[in-house]
């Protein structure tokens, strides 16, 4: 048994693997978008004055972080139909990954908001700004700079952990590589090709994250030089 460059190039340029990579990308982007939306709501609820809102958000974050993602996916896909709730594979993946991501992002967002000095919120209040305006103009632009680095970590992790979707038969990057590996048992070649796709995707994301961070820093640099 030896390394076959021929198989390796075949796999690397295979439209099958490329389609799998595309599934990985859109699943990651969609799950992170859902995670940001639900996670922001959960973060704000966790910091709210109302104890009911606080309790609901804390319970959600606790429950989702206390159970493995794989168990959540299996419950969604093969467990819930038993009580009459049958979701499609894509729905299971979006809900499973999205809600799991939201639980972690809620904590990331909460940390970002807390990093903004309380005095600024009080100053905004003194200027007559309401809650929404304070958040939008004073708190979030500063919190975003703190949130983006750990958010980038989560996105990077999500690109890789999305391979778990193969257990509910989603045809993502790893599953596509597994199937290519079965054709002639060129296992090393298939998995190295998949690994290269993952490296390219995470590296591209690293560059995108760098630009987002630079864009968020720009207004603050102007203020400093002025």
């Amino acid at each position: 048994m030896n390394w076959s460059w021929h198989s390796f190039w075949d796999f690397l340029s295979s439209p099958y693997l490329l389609r799998g990579a595309w599934t990985t990308v859109w699943l990651t982007v969609a799950a992170t978008a859902i995670g940001l939306l639900v996670g922001s709501a959960a973060a704000l609820m966790k910091m709210a004055g109302n104890p009911l809102l606080r309790g609901v958000a804390s319970f959600y974050v606790w429950l989702w972080r206390a159970t493995p993602l794989l168990v959540q996916l299996m419950i969604l896909y093969t467990g819930l139909p038993q009580i009459g709730i049958r979701l499609t594979v894509v729905e299971c993946a979006l809900i499973g990954f999205g809600l799991n991501e939201a639980a972690y992002l809620a904590e990331v967002i909460r940390a970002g908001i807390r990093s903004v000095d309380r005095g600024q919120v009080e100053a905004a209040k003194a200027l007559g700004m309401n809650y929404a305006k304070t958040m939008r103009i004073v708190v979030l632009p500063q919190a975003a700079r703190v949130i983006v680095p750990p958010l980038g970590n989560q996105f990077n992790g999500m690109l890789k952990i999305s391979s778990l979707a193969s257990v509910i038969t989603m045809q993502e990057l790893l599953r596509s590589a597994q199937q290519l590996a079965q054709l002639e048992f060129r296992v090393l070649e298939a998995y190295v090709a998949a690994a290269i796709y993952y490296i390219v995707l995470t590296t591209l994301w690293g560059e995108i994250q760098r630009r987002i961070e630079a864009a968020l820093d720009r207004p603050f640099q102007v203020a400093a030089s002025g």
Binding site: T78, R175, Q179, F185, V187
Partner: protein, 240 residues
């Protein structure tokens, strides 16, 4: 030996956690006759052929189907005959009566098995005849596929007939189509011709005293002499 213990009655883990089934009985007896003790590695099917080639185990004992492609990369010892079956929920809720009815149906198979390839061939035939193809879903193991079937996430599973009949007898699933392909024999696979020769010898002695026939028949499978590729004796195939 590697085996994928998710497939009753061929190889599975019983309620007390023991590895049991036809292939386990067979493997234990072969090892005993070679004055060895069988040690099983329970691993998903997809990893088994690469693992054999990397010498992680000496033999695959998991009801691997015989194909000439596979006989090119390892020694195959066909030992029993079985067909594939289309397995559905009890009462066949989608009314599957022929392979044509698999048009548009969601069909589950295990990753890397001959069933996956067969399911794709059936689907390709449907496309060729102008029908909608099947939606083939690939699972890590048959236990995952059958769980998804029980949850009605998929319409049918394509798997060995003996497995379908086992579930049908227990009232869990139905077998509307029992003979989907010409019988493909199940084979043991080894990493070395010397091991293959020793296993063939053990099987021959089991056939001579009736142990082999007893184990195969006990689980509703058919002995290898009914296979059209049978050449008068149990033997191994290897044409690299």
């Amino acid at each position: 030996m590697s085996t994928n213990a998710t497939l009753p009655p061929m190889q599975y883990v019983d309620a007390s956690g023991n590895l049991v089934g036809m292939n386990v009985d067979l493997g234990n007896e072969i090892a005993r006759r070679l004055c060895l003790k069988a040690r099983y590695v329970n691993v998903q099917f997809e990893a088994q052929i690469p693992g054999l080639r990397n010498r992680r185990w000496d033999m695959i004992d998991t009801g691997l189907y015989f194909t000439t492609d596979r006989a090119r990369v390892m020694q195959l010892i066909p030992y029993s005959v079985g067909a594939l079956a289309v397995i559905t929920n009890s009462g066949n809720p989608h009314g599957l009566k022929s392979l044509k009815d698999l048009s548009g149906a969601v069909v589950g198979v295990e990753l890397g098995g001959i069933e996956e390839r067969r399911a794709r061939e059936i689907s390709a035939d449907l496309t060729k005849s102008g029908s909608k193809p099947s939606d083939i879903r690939v699972f890590n193991s048959y236990s995952d596929a059958f769980q998804a079937l029980a949850a009605s996430q998929i319409d049918a599973v394509l798997a060995g007939s003996a497995i379908g009949n086992y579930y049908a007898k227990r009232g869990q699933f139905a077998v509307p189509l029992g003979q989907v392909m010409a019988p493909a024999p199940a084979a043991l696979a080894t990493s070395d011709p010397a091991i293959a020769a020793a296993v063939v010898e053990a099987l021959a002695s089991m056939a001579a005293d009736g142990t082999y026939q007893r184990i195969i028949n006990q689980y509703g499978m058919t002995t290898i002499d009914k296979w059209d590729g049978y050449r008068g004796k149990i033997q191994y195939f290897y044409t690299p």
